[in-house]
Symmetry: C2
Subunit: 357 residues, 2 copies
DNA sequence: CTGAAAGCGCTTACAG
DNA sequence: CTGAAAGCGCTTACAG
């Protein structure tokens, strides 16, 4: 690089422009109150020398400033998927504490759009400098985004992306490809005439998530492409009703003994896994998503064949970090940040459990 | 946490102890020249309030200090494995530039122990504040480590670990398990009575690396455990002699038509892949290591079935970072840092290529 | 609109 | 052994 310009300070710029450091500072930050003439002069020099602010000095000098962030994500009980995103947020929060950034986590019910709307109604009643949003309810998120735009408050998305908005950045995966990969993992271990069972969870509050829908599409696309000629069966299960689930599964497996593979497009793979384990059906290959405790346990026992993961901790962590970098250092990250789609087998699981970021 | 103590400064400590900030600073950094009485008084208060230094202020104040790091790794031509580690080092170097840390990369020939010894002989002729070492030549690395210990210069290992030394940290993988995983990936797609070909590269200068040996052991262990009853064949190839390689491979495949799987325990998987591709032998499953360009190309074409990767960029990056954190902030990382063992298929490859850290 | 000065929390000579 | 003072590069009132 231009080594000769690598240590230029504001005082140097000020001298070169024949103004004071205050004026240079005002130009750098567009604080106004500078004559057009001086602004131009300073701007020209800034560009000429490729001025790079000293970030340590900047944050030290501004260290009395307070920032307040909000993170709006689904609530969870211990061991559920959304806990991982929350952990990433906490990690970033604790790292940024010394910069006087505080972060408030607001939780909504992922099966109830209204709980999300209730939160965003009161969101701006106090001072907010940035918002991280889990984008489960598309329409509501768009409404929130537009309001944040009006108030010039930056925001980032995690989980799934939404086009046409002004989010600072998105951190998440390509769900469609995550579905393709599930199919690949299953079909590598099945003959193309085996039957496959696709399970889904039914909820009163909400239909399938975008994630689930996209994964399912990718999954089916792969099967079609690769000449799958078995039958696809579907079953609807309930999140908290094992008796019901076992009954339904008994029914469908008895009626279709050719089912040798199963998949479920969210983190509740353990429901199917527990059934297969209880019934001693080791021969059925099972693929699911997310490294939550109940899944990893069954993976390491060999009941689940493979899990697909998408670095939820990192989504939360980098989401918060990108807001902080924007606020503190005016540094913007990429607008779309796709996490790797990790393939977990029993054999490489342990190296992921301590390496979540 | 102790919120009440969260913003205690050196001046506060000084007042509480009835001394000057200079004395507090001397105690914090063990700079000596403090009476035992004052040292104790200050130390007690430091502990009582859980003093946390302000890192920004510290680095700003010390920003005139210069640090010089060394990175000793194998030389490479473009697209070879060691380029990735080097990229990670460069990334960290550019981030740390503003802290006045410079890093000099020294390269040795990975097939010639003497070139490593030549480097370490002259290593300490100038001022060095930390060293990153690629641990290919165990005995020489131990000798170097002991000399660094004598000079109280911190050092970190990458690639493979060595016990009994005082390295600040190690960044790398568990090669044995990486071998297990290769076997799992292959056997998931083969019948247990298929034959398997293990290829190795022969060099004049050096026998098999630790990495390669460990991976091979893990691989064979998995086969034994899972009741593999095909035959294992071995072939020795040359790194730059396609004519020779094709001849040897033609020979062995013709003699053993039951070979349906192949593996090679280093990054030269493309040699086998190019052969299989040229001969149109799509049915042979091939598993190898490392996301170098020639491998990823064949993976995306479907010639290579799976690649196993171990985040070399991150090894270099975090290795340098841990030296810097030690020097600048007296923060030490974990002593052993095992990278995830990533499983790459054609379908998830692209999400790793832009996510190397 | 402009500049001089104080301050952020730490480290570094320096005088005693 | 100890302390007062200057300085790191930036931001923030404040006076004009």
């Amino acid at each position: 690089m231009d080594k000769e310009f690598s240590n230029i300070r504001i005082v140097d710029i000020a001298k070169m422009a024949g103004v004071s450091v205050g004026t240079v500072d005002r130009v750098i930050h567009n604080r106004g109150r500078v004559s057009e003439e001086n602004r131009k002069k300073v701007q020209a020099i800034l560009e000429m020398v490729h001025y790079q602010p000293n970030l340590m000095a900047r944050s030290l000098a501004a260290s009395k400033k307070q920032y307040h962030l909000l993170a709006v994500t689904p609530s969870f009980v211990q061991g559920e998927y959304w806990e991982a995103i929350s952990e990433g947020i906490d990690k970033a929060a604790s790292e940024m504490e010394s910069y006087n950034i505080t972060i408030t986590k607001l939780f909504f019910d992922q099966y109830n759009n209204k709980t999300f709307d209730d939160i965003i109604r009161n969101l701006l009643h106090e001072k907010v400098d940035g918002v991280l949003i889990a984008t489960l309810f598309t329409d509501s998120v768009i409404r929130l985004s537009q309001e944040l735009d009006r108030n010039e408050i930056p925001y980032v998305y995690v989980d799934s992306n939404i086009g046409g908005q002004h989010q600072l950045a998105y951190f998440g995966t390509e769900s469609y490809d995550a579905g393709v990969i599930a199919a690949r993992l299953l079909m590598d271990r099945l003959s193309s005439s085996s039957d496959i069972l696709m399970a889904r969870i039914i909820h009163s509050g909400k239909n399938d998530s975008n994630q689930g829908k996209n994964r399912r599409e990718g999954f089916c696309h792969y099967l079609t492409q690769t000449g799958f000629n078995g039958n696809l069966h579907e079953v609807e299960l309930k999140i908290n009703d094992s008796v019901y689930n076992f009954m339904k599964l008994d029914e469908i497996f008895e009626a279709n003994p050719n089912i040798n593979g199963a998949v479920i497009f969210n983190s509740t793979c353990y429901i199917l896994g527990n059934y297969l384990k209880a019934r001693g059906m080791q021969s059925v290959k099972l693929v699911g998503y997310d490294l939550i405790g109940r899944n990893t346990q069954l993976l390491s026992e060999g009941v689940i064949t493979a899990l697909i993961a998408q670095r939820p901790e990192r989504q939360g962590y980098e989401g918060v970090k990108s807001l902080c970098n924007h606020l503190l250092f005016k540094q913007n990250s990429e607008k779309v940040n796709l996490m790797p789609i990790d393939i977990l087998l029993k054999e490489n699981l342990k190296y992921y459990l301590n390496n979540k970021l």
